[in-house]
Amino acid sequence: MKFLIYSLVFVAILTGFIFLLPTPAVENPHHKTTIGNATDNTFVLTNVTVFDGQTWHQDSQLVINNGRISTDAGSSDELPRINGGQGFVIPGLIDAHTHTWGNALQQALQFGVTTEIDMFTALSFAQQAKLTRHSEAKTNQADFFSAGTLVTSPGGHGTQYGFPIPTINSVDEADEFVQARIDEGSDFIKIVYNHEPDYHGLTTISKQTLAAVIKASHARQKLAVVHISNHQSAVDAVTAGADGLVHTFGDRIISDELLTAMREKQVFVIPTLSVIASMAQSDHSAALSVDKNLTRKLSTSMLAEIKNGLKPFHGLPSRPDLLATAIENTRIMHEHGIIILAGSDAPNPGTAHGISLHGELELLQQAGLSPTEVLQAAGYLTAQAFPIGRRGDLSPGAKADFIVLSADPREHIKNTRTIVSIWKNGYPITSEDTTNTDSIEPIDEQPNTLISHFNQDSLKSFFDSDYKVTSDQMMQGNSTAAVSWTSNACDGGGIAVKGHIKSGFNYPWSGVFLPFSANMNKTRSLTAYQAIEFEAAGDVGVYQLMVFTVNNMQPVQIPFKITEQCRLLAVTLSDHPSVNWDAVTGLAWVADGSRLKPELASFAFSLDNVVIR
């Protein structure tokens, strides 16, 4: 008996302890803020041009009170003021079609996407991620709304991702099924439908079930959106009463009947042109990953992850017609007054969270939306279509989620990439980049000619650093290299570089690296110099001179040729205006992916008389 009592007391204490552990802030959509209680997210952003979601306010200001936009009038004089430097302020972007898990919400925010509307993810993630979306607390992630588990048939699209989900068998189950989704916390209902029973080897729900599920959703005041990928399925979905289509289609140009039906029933469309571009094998996404505006603040690891994600669907034929038709359909729908919303469908192949929404905006502009209309498609209109509260606009009461741009997005939508700062709940978002720019100090020197003769048995450079090995192993690649002093270089003493290029990292490299300071923590300006010269000889082929600059994890590559004979090679700095010569952190001479073939993989060359003049 005593034992039993002890056990019960023990379990009670343990339970009490578990309840004492910290839990996320409880979701409270009616959160009230107290005016005048100044916090870090209360201030006035001055000297900016503001797009409030509907109209532009030239040379205006934005009042932020406890993480929400406040009225201009009143006590704004007493608030701290932040100079916006004549920037352009737009509402934080909303991606209306994502599949969100892992670090997606953090990554999205790094690109100014402050809200993601998820179209299907694991329930465990969804229930956790939505907890903080109505909070005005400081955060490093985008807000999250979700369909939770999608509605699909046994063996249908959505069941192939390796985790079990409930599926719907027949019309009779519609009410119960939709109620179960709502009980789980689905913010809206997403349905997968195809008009033919065989959907790329997957099954689909019937037309009758589709209609029943939409009816059951509407009976519970929930939005019902439908995944379709062709014209006939779109016709069926609209006939069945869908509130929105979460893709457009590229199999044919939209019929007048469908167009009329969509306009009359006010059906919105999230074209997700980004993912259609990927299916069509377009090079659209490749351009994003090399856009310096988008990538310069990223850490090496995140950039590598994103580049990997932006590779198009594997093994599909090139189909430019598919993308062209999809864009044309979007253009026609927009012309006929159908609401178009921006969604990327990240992280499907060819897309990545955050960055791909900027690509989608560009595609929507190509589909005939004006830049201001595109901004509304990624903000104001999305918040009208989905039950996501006051966001996507910057009028009083809305969440203080916004982006400050250095260039006017009205001129070209690509200017949404000129991000100066991102603000979430009124707090500035710090860059994910772990390199602390402040600790990198520029060194001013007289432009003396710098020479490494390598006459002594030493790898010392003209800076206080050693020539050393560099390879893609820092990016989890497998290439190797060895660097040593040799007495047999072009002019006697020099550097011998031997290495192997192996597959592993997408852009393999290995070779020798000259850091401009011992710890890579100093930059040097080369603007007073004209050229970098060096002598090289070795295994014939094209190699790369890499120039590393501050805040730019991706070095600029300048190709050069090595022959068996010693040659003097020169790089004229003014020939490469894309390099920030004012803040160089290092140079490297490397072999690259062109040597991936087994017979070329192994390479050796010598380097001598490195001169910066």
Partner: protein
């Protein structure tokens, strides 16, 4: 009429054996201190000091799961692997077999001791993570993490039992260490498994801690995304295999006498 008395008496045997076993283990500093302190120390080093911002600041929460797994394996593997091996060599196991006490009480006592140590380790990780790592989970997630980790000691008790019966007392500590540390590392308990090469990731499927870690990480949605029943199924199958191997060793010992 006296079945209830019988039942109480036999429960008392189990209770006394468990209590003495726990006291014995607890009074061995060589067992207690590393078991309790190592997981906590590694957690402080790798999740709080060196890698705090890793995985977008989720590292402290992620590593509650993985060092939790690392922590609970220790007492299970050492309590059984080393403890049973030494007591077997000293003849103490034989004495226990001869005594009127059911032999299951001996094993039950060790399982409960491993779980009690596991509980202490988990709670200390929870407190450290909550106070110093800003780890925030729902009450359900905290409770589920605790429960899955406690039940998760069982496969390692089975593995330890087999090792304890198969190994000589002198060699047991070395061999158990040789299995414990590399197995933990290769299962992604120290460094997130996502950072491993694909070959190493595939290899981890052969290791029981990998599956337990995936189950615990699933509670936070930080796992690799395989269904939970696959991991649970593999763990159950592995436990049965270890028990089968342990039975074979046990028979061999009994017949040798």
């Amino acid at each position: 009429m006296n079945t209830s008395a019988n039942w109480q008496r036999s429960l008392n045997i189990y209770y006394l054996e468990a209590k003495t076993e726990f006291l014995k283990a607890f009074r061995m500093p060589a067992f207690t201190i590393p078991s309790l302190l190592f997981p906590l120390m590694f957690y402080v080093f790798f999740a709080l000091i060196f890698n705090r911002q890793g995985m977008n600041g989720q590292m402290p929460a992620y590593m509650i799961a993985t060092y939790g797994v690392f922590g609970i394996i220790g007492p299970a593997l050492f309590g059984f692997g080393v403890g049973v091996a030494i007591e077997k060599d000293q003849g103490w196991l034989a004495v226990k077999q001869c005594s009127p006490m059911p032999i299951s009480a001996y094993f039950m006592a060790r399982i409960l001791t491993a779980m009690q140590f596991a509980l202490l380790i988990i709670l200390s990780l929870f407190i450290t993570g909550a106070l110093f790592g800003d780890v925030v989970l729902t009450t359900g997630q905290w409770a589920a993490t605790l429960l899955v980790l406690l039940i998760g000691t069982l496969p390692f008790c089975a593995l330890g039992l087999w090792l304890g019966l198969a190994l000589k007392g002198q060699s047991a500590p070395a061999v158990v260490n040789l299995i414990y540390l590399p197995m933990s590392f290769l299962s992604g308990l120290w460094i997130p498994i996502e950072l491993f090469s694909s070959v190493l990731q595939s290899f981890a499927w052969l290791l029981p801690p990998f599956h337990l870690a995936q189950l615990v990480l699933k509670i936070q949605g930080l796992d690799l995304g395989h269904p939970w029943f696959i991991h649970a199924g593999i763990l159950t199958a592995m436990s049965l295999l270890f028990l089968l191997l342990a039975r074979r060793s046990f028979k061999r010992i009994s017949e040798a006498k």
